[in-house]
């Protein structure tokens, strides 16, 4: 397995404009779904 560098991952991810609030809300939904 070829592991992608952090630099490449950040470059791909930084194209979007997520916020910490988006992340927290999505995580809450993921954990609720898993229960």
């Amino acid at each position: 397995v070829v592991v992608v560098s952090w630099a490449a991952l950040f470059e791909r991810a930084d194209a979007d404009e997520e916020t910490v609030e988006d992340v927290r809300a999505t995580l809450a939904a993921v954990r609720e779904e898993g229960e």
Binding site: V1, V4, A13, R24, T26
Partner: protein, 157 residues
Amino acid sequence: MAPEPDPVTVVADADVLAADLLVGGAARAALDAVRAHDWLTLVVSDPLLDDAAAVVRALADAELATDWRERVADLGEFVDHPAGDHPALACAHRGRAAHLLSFDEELRRARTGAALKPHVETSVKHPDAFARLFDPAAVYEAVVGDEYPGPDRDPRA
């Protein structure tokens, strides 16, 4: 009495792991400290990475989530814990982590500290507090007993 935490061991909750990738800011600054130092250990578990990868999948895409998971799995040290446990707390407990990074205020409240204390003396911090206060030179000198040589790993590799 709770076992002594390992001062070079860190857990990042799934919100911090996902924000490191998707947002940057405090989460990335905090995890850069871990990426830049080979002697710091990021404790992870499959349930913890499952949660963070699900967030990446939902907010970005499945391919990025897969690639991210492979990269973070390569960086982290895995522990096992029961499926019903809170992944970050369980990782802190099993990994005897000195630091647990989370954006979750509930986790950072004294209640969580009290719940963890019988198991391990973990300090639950906002990633910004960790990024500002963590002093790798002081920790290295205390743990290794030698002069801090500076970062020994490329945090973007």
